[in-house]
């Protein structure tokens, strides 16, 4: 995975795939470059566009795309789906998120140290579901549990092959950063 470069407050991201309900095509979307002053070069489908953010918070955004003003409201957003109202029109956008991958890498999934048995949470959050039982054998990359943080769901994956030992969390419970989720022996 390439190193993330920080550009302004929003990082230049990976190329992600977006789909709008009722529209058959899928579109690539990505922030290519931060130009400073809340201006960005973004890619939508094959085109590069200029975008200036006028204001933004968790509920909505006002921006100028090339020469045209737009206003969008974020009604509900998870990492994989978003309900928005764009200039008065309700839309549903789903995206193929790479977030799971990022958390996976950061939790040690990318390294090859098999010695560590504890699978730790890299983020604080609520336990949405647990995908394994004690005694199950798992492969590196299998989903152990799903956490929810800031309205986003993140799958936590096994960092190595092994057998699930003690599961330290309960569905519906919450975990702090660095809490041990499960032992994989």
């Amino acid at each position: 995975m390439p190193l993330q470069t920080r550009c302004g407050r929003i990082r230049c991201g990976d190329d992600m795939e977006y789909k709008i309900e009722d529209i058959a095509e899928t579109f690539d979307g990505q922030i290519l470059k931060s130009l400073g002053n809340n201006e960005y070069t973004i890619k939508i489908g094959p085109q590069e566009r200029h975008l200036k953010i006028i204001s933004m918070d968790s509920r909505g955004i006002e921006f100028i795309l090339d020469q045209k003003y737009h206003k969008a409201k974020y009604l509900e957003a998870t990492t994989s789906q978003m309900n928005l109202v764009v200039d008065g029109t309700p839309m549903k956008v789903s995206m193929n998120s790479k977030l799971d991958e990022i958390v996976y890498k950061n939790s040690g999934g990318g390294s090859s140290t098999d010695a560590q048995t504890s699978l730790k949470s890299q983020i604080p959050g609520k336990v949405v579901s647990i995908g394994v039982s004690e005694g199950d054998s798992v492969k590196k990359g299998d989903v152990i549990c799903v956490l929810e943080s800031m309205k986003m769901q993140v799958s936590i994956k096994a960092h190595k092959d092994g057998t699930v030992g003690k599961i330290k969390i309960k569905a519906g419970g919450s975990v702090a950063k660095n809490d041990v989720l499960a032992e994989i022996e």
Partner: protein
């Protein structure tokens, strides 16, 4: 003289009445249920009285409670709005008994308007044409057949106790009528315990055209032109306009005179509406008088320049109507769209709940009567009408295009609305060229067109949606990564 009015209603019509009262220097009193503590009419009135629980029966229909509020507040008049107690002659009688000026017709006249058979008989006497059919209930199948042959097939066999498609049959011949007679009798008895059958001519591709009436206590009567209300769903009006595309000045005068005769036939006072069906051959048939201020009165105000609520109050005060029929001139074109909280795709099922954000359209020739404000709630206990959006133009097309623009500007967050449906209707060629009928939605497959319009609309907003989604997901990904890597630069706040 009326000095203080209690408005026995809620929502946009309560606000509408309050507005005119304030302009006339009349004090206003609102009433409200548990559900309406936070409603705009309570905030705008000079005083407000709580009258009970959310269910209409226990508040807005509770005559005793409302009368208590009238007396406690020292109001000398009551405006009933539309719906609720507006056409309840017991309530208007209760007001008469308590010497409270009820802004509307007398209890006697209201009763007559509400009784379809007696009203029809009165119209027959006054030579007001009604839908051809049996003058009264038919005694047996032979009498029904005889009348059907006089007025000509197809006819409807109707039980007066029917409704909702039960106890009603469309028949095309003597043979069909004889078969259906038994069925209708049976259905009516099964559902309502008794049968009483009428024969009525079946009219196809009908339009609903109504006349605004005003008649004072001195017997002066005028009509304030027609309104065409043909675009409906389940017999409820959605879009109204004036003038009607099929009413020229000659027809306006001719049917207007009949409408005035109808008001005189039932000794109607104050403002009311004579409803007509117009058959495809151009014939008009009287159906009923609505003994109240209509929902769609604003379009008449837009083309006449009159304040109809003021006219109601003046008439209630015993003043003569200050103009003659010949003084009234129609100016321009007006359209009303009833903005309902409903889901067009769920068979117009109501959609209720909090409305965190609203943008109300405005501009030249745009009027919006509404109870909405950012942070209000659309209650499941009452009517789904949230707003009446009206536009005026010098030409029909100017009013239509202003309406389309205003519909685009109208944003209501949190509930489904009929706005997208209206955009599809107003853009249609059939609407543009005035091919209206009460089955407009079905006849022209409007719902299918709406589905396509929604897809097209999404397509035209695609780039902005993707841009907003990209920024949002990158932003939140940045946050998640910051958490994941304990980025010390991260400050836990938004922009």
């Amino acid at each position: 003289m009326i000095g203080k009015v209690l408005i026995a209603n809620r929502g946009e019509i309560a606000l509408r009445v309050i507005r005119t009262c304030k302009a006339l220097g009349i004090k206003t009193v609102a009433v409200y249920s548990d559900e309406d503590y936070n409603s705009l009419h309570v905030k705008k009135a000079d005083e407000s009285y709580h009258i009970g629980k959310a269910a209409p029966k226990e508040s807005y229909l509770n005559q005793e409670k409302i009368m208590e509020a009238i007396l406690a507040s020292g109001s000398d008049a009551v405006h009933p709005g539309y719906g609720f107690l507006s056409e309840n002659s017991d309530f208007s009688k209760l007001c008469e008994d308590n010497k409270i000026n009820f802004i509307g017709p007398s209890a006697v006249s209201m009763d007559l308007c509400g009784d379809k058979m007696r009203c029809k008989a009165a119209m027959f006497k006054a030579k007001v044409p009604t839908v051809p059919g049996s003058p009264d209930l038919v005694k047996n199948v032979d009498e029904a057949t005889k009348i059907a042959n006089e007025i000509g097939y197809p006819v409807l066999l109707k039980s007066v106790y029917g409704g909702g498609g039960r106890g009603i049959r469309l028949v095309n011949s003597d043979k069909e009528l004889q078969e259906a007679y038994e069925t209708v009798t049976g259905e009516s008895i099964a559902a309502f315990g008794k049968s009483a059958i009428l024969v009525e001519k079946f009219l196809e591709k009908i339009r609903h055209i109504e006349y605004q009436l005003a008649r004072d206590k001195h017997g002066n009567a005028v009509h304030i032109f027609e309104r065409e209300c043909s675009i409906q769903r389940r017999n409820q009006k959605l879009i109204e306009q004036t003038p009607s595309p099929v009413v020229d000045q000659k027809t306006r005068d001719r049917i207007g005179e009949i409408a005035v005769k109808a008001a005189e036939a039932v000794d109607y006072t104050n403002l009311g509406t004579a409803e007509f069906l117009r058959a495809d051959n151009g014939e008009f048939y009287f159906i009923e008088i609505n003994a109240r201020l209509q929902v769609e009165h604003p379009i008449t105000e837009l083309v006449s320049g009159l304040d109809l609520v003021k006219l109601q109050i003046d008439i209630a005060n015993g003043e003569p109507i200050p103009f003659k029929q010949k003084d009234l001139k129609m100016n321009g074109y007006a359209i009303e769209c009833r903005i309902n909280a409903e889901d067009t795709f769920l068979d117009f099922a109501p959609s209720t709940g909090p409305v965190p954000d609203v943008t109300i359209p405005s501009g030249p020739g745009v009027r919006c009567d509404t109870y909405l404000y950012s942070g209000c709630t659309v209650s499941p206990f009452y009517d789904s009408l949230m707003a009446k959006l009206c536009t005026w133009g010098q030409t029909f097309d100017e009013s239509r295009l202003r309406m389309l623009n205003a519909l685009n500007d109208f944003y209501i967050q949190g509930v489904e609305t009929s706005i997208p449906l209206y955009k599809t209707i107003l853009k249609s060629d059939e609407y543009k060229n005035g091919s209206l009928s009460t089955d407009f939605l079905k006849r022209y497959g409007i719902i299918d067109r709406l589905t396509q319009d929604i897809k097209d609309d999404k397509l035209s907003h695609k780039d902005a949606a993707l841009a907003a989604a990209v920024i949002h997901s990158e932003y939140f990904k940045s946050r998640a990564q910051s958490h994941a890597s304990s980025n010390p630069l991260w400050k836990d706040k938004m922009w």
